[in-house]
């Protein structure tokens, strides 16, 4: 967060009024929290909002304050963060502004949440695994306690039906009570259909990069310098060290296993004082470290430059191209030498790019609802951590830190939650759907150029979150509990829907049943039959939340051969909160199997650009 908020143009104290913001409570369902962190100190905070019904039940030696106003735990002995993850996400969403923090000098700056003056209530469900029944218990409490926004950087990883997924169920009841839930999309990208947070009442968040990239360098004996990806804070005491390949420093493994530095393969006597090259990204570090090597250079076969781990010793990962340069050098000289430099931050002009690891759509449960919804920073984010003696940044690393660099959609979700809380502080009466809409329709357009097979909106949703614009979207796509119930009627029988709603809801029958794509969603998606003509209709309504007297004109942005019509093309509003409906038709033919066409609808009034992506795709 020492860069992520500024990268989005959301500078410290921009438009933020501490008194209003301090009425907002962010509920963090995660691995607990480190209450003594500077990020959660309560200097300058008054007592909790009067409506707050939560409690501080964090267990032994756990004290809340006027910043951290609630804590509950469902696993382990207390709400104290056992992994660092919960402190990281909580401080990203709503942590205090803490100056001059860094990770061993890296990523130095002011760490802060999206709403530094907001309150936090922590619900510990992971230690480090998270069971569904505990997640549900946390939702049950958080909703009743009176949080305003929930962030949950937890996922199942596989597709589950909406009534069998603890997060979907919990978020549904949160939505009923006016609480928006932000949820990480998952880290199973870049394969398609890997996103597992699929409910339309959830804000599903993909991870993207910022313009700060942390790299390190390998310098070879012949003077060649190669750029690697890891957060290496170790400085090697000397200029050059012998380089050896795993296969040459093993006595008891096959060449292939030794080359990958599989555990038990490296001979301690042969690796001491040397930098070991390993053909495996996952196993190499651990084995080389355990065997007593000085450092390691790993082959990252995924070629992902946007994901970097923190090694327990001097180590880096190289992509296919750069790793092969090292291998060629090794083969060309009798005494290969090299060194690994300490990491440094460089400018990444390509940002924001959606991270390769970020899970992709389409949505396998509701194919016409585009997931993920939005992208937010989730690569190399520095935020609060747990300095507990039993916790380290990486297995094998005995150092303990107050602030740590982490990557994942886990880091993206609290950024979105922070923005949602920011919007809520300006518009306390807005529904979860309105807040979600404001975030989605004000997003920056993105591209997906990093992926081998670009999936565009299925990678980044509506685009990159834009906090400054999100408070003033002009129009919102509103959806009430009844709208979601109508959607559920398409999946479940009336009796089950009534149990879900808790009232005597009736389900439309026959042709009135409609389609999931009729949900008043801020993005428009439709799955169509391959190689056949199609004409897909979307029915939408928008609510005026900008200027009382406003006229919006529809603009279509499309490079594809589909024909898109909006009726009417002009919407004139006479008052605030007035609603207008429109229909959009997308027609075309002959989309091949596995293809996707993207376009966008923008309602423009001279000030506001209310942008919705349009995606038509085939199986």
């Amino acid at each position: 967060t020492t860069r992520s908020w500024d990268f989005m143009g959301f500078h410290e104290k921009i438009n933020q009024t501490a008194t209003v913001e301090s009425d907002v409570v962010v509920g963090v369902i995660d691995s607990g929290i480190w209450p003594e962190s500077e990020s959660f100190k309560d200097e300058g905070f008054g007592p909790p909002p009067k409506r707050w019904k939560g409690a501080c039940k964090g267990g032994n030696n756990f004290t809340c304050n006027n910043k951290l106003i609630g804590a509950r735990y469902y696993v382990a002995e207390s709400a104290r963060d056992g992994t660092g993850h919960g402190s990281h996400t909580a401080s990203t969403a709503a942590g205090n502004a803490v100056k001059d923090v860094s990770f061993y000098g890296l990523a130095q700056g002011t760490a802060r949440g999206g709403v530094p003056s907001a309150r936090i209530s922590a619900y510990k469900v992971c230690a480090p695994m998270c069971m569904a029944h505990n997640i549900l218990a946390a939702f049950d409490d958080a909703i009743a306690d009176g949080v305003d926004i929930i962030t949950i950087s937890i996922g199942f990883g596989f597709i589950q039906d909406l009534d069998r997924d603890a997060i979907s169920i919990g978020a549904f009841h949160a939505m009923e009570k006016g609480i928006l839930t932000s949820n990480s999309a998952g880290n199973n990208g870049p394969l398609g259909a890997t996103v597992s947070s699929l409910a339309p009442w959830i804000l599903t968040v993909a991870a993207s990069s910022t313009d700060r990239r942390i790299i390190d360098k390998v310098v070879l004996g012949n003077g060649t310098t190669l750029v690697g990806s890891s957060v290496n804070t170790f400085i090697l005491n000397g200029t050059s060290f012998p380089l050896v390949h795993g296969k040459d420093v093993s006595r008891n493994c096959t060449e292939r296993r030794a080359g990958r530095c599989e555990e038990g393969c490296l001979d301690s006597d042969l690796v001491k004082g040397k930098i070991v090259l390993c053909d495996d990204y996952d196993r190499g570090n651990k084995a080389a470290y355990k065997a007593g090597a000085l450092g390691s250079v790993l082959y990252n076969f995924r070629n992902t430059d946007d994901f970097s781990t923190i090694p327990p010793f001097a180590a880096t990962t190289l992509n296919e191209k750069t790793y092969s340069v090292v291998m060629s050098y090794m083969n060309s000289t009798r005494d290969p030498q090299g060194t690994i430099l300490k990491s440094e931050a460089i400018n990444n002009p390509a940002a924001p790019l959606v991270a390769l690891f970020s899970s992709r759509g389409p949505n396998l449960i509701l194919p016409d609802i585009i997931k993920p919804d939005i992208s937010a920073p989730g690569v190399q984010v520095l935020a609060a951590f747990s300095p507990d003696a039993s916790i380290s940044t990486t297995p094998g690393d005995n150092r303990h830190v107050q602030y740590n660099i982490m990557s994942g959609t886990s880091m993206a979700s609290p950024h979105a939650a922070g923005v949602a809380a920011y919007v809520k502080s300006f518009h306390p009466d807005w529904s979860p759907a309105a807040i979600k809409s404001s975030i989605m329709t004000t997003a920056w357009p993105m591209n997906d150029s990093q992926s081998y097979v670009p999936t565009y909106e299925f990678a980044y949703g509506s685009g990159h979150i834009n906090p400054v614009k999100a408070i003033n979207p002009g129009l919102v796509y509103e959806a009430s509990k009844e709208d979601y119930i109508r959607l559920l009627c398409m999946k479940y029988d009336e009796a089950r829907v009534r149990l879900l709603s808790g009232d005597n809801s009736t389900c439309p029958i026959g042709s009135d049943k409609g389609s999931p794509k009729d949900l008043n969603y801020p993005s428009m998606g439709a799955k169509v039959e391959p190689m056949k003509p199609f004409a897909v209709e979307f029915h939408r309504r928008v609510k005026n939340v900008g200027l009382a007297n406003a006229t919006y004109t529809a603009k279509i942005f499309s490079e594809s051969k589909v024909e898109i019509k909006v009726v009417p093309e002009v919407l004139s509003f006479k008052s605030l909160n007035e609603e207008k409906t429109f229909n959009m038709t997308v027609a075309g033919s002959g989309l091949p199997y596995g293809s996707q066409v993207s376009a966008a609808l923008v309602w423009f009034d001279g000030t506001h650009n209310v942008r919705s992506p349009i995606v038509v795709y085939t199986a």
Binding site: C126, M131, I135, L136, D141, A144, S153, I154, I169, G170
Partner: protein, 86 residues
């Protein structure tokens, strides 16, 4: 009689809380009582959800889960799976 090994923590989701006067805990007990045989209810009930929505978690066998899933007041029954930090 099912052994503890046959049982898995499962979630019995009952939807929203009714608007009328209602005692969730006794309802949860009564539902559970209808399907378990020969075990003490207290040892099987893991957690009741009663503040914001309706349901409970209990250690159940496959057969008990199936029976519960067929009850008209039950929305869904599913094993409490392991989620991960991301």
């Amino acid at each position: 009689k099912a052994t503890s090994e046959d049982r898995e923590v499962s979630i019995v989701y009952l939807g929203s809380l009714p608007h009328e006067v209602y005692s969730p805990l006794s309802h949860h007990h009564s539902i559970l009582q209808r399907v378990i045989q020969g075990s003490s209810l207290e040892s099987l009930l893991v957690r009741s959800y009663k503040r914001s929505f309706n349901g409970f978690a209990a250690k159940l066998t496959d057969q008990e889960r199936e029976k519960l899933a067929n009850m008209k007041e039950v929305v869904s029954v599913f094993p409490s799976r392991t989620y991960q930090l991301q």
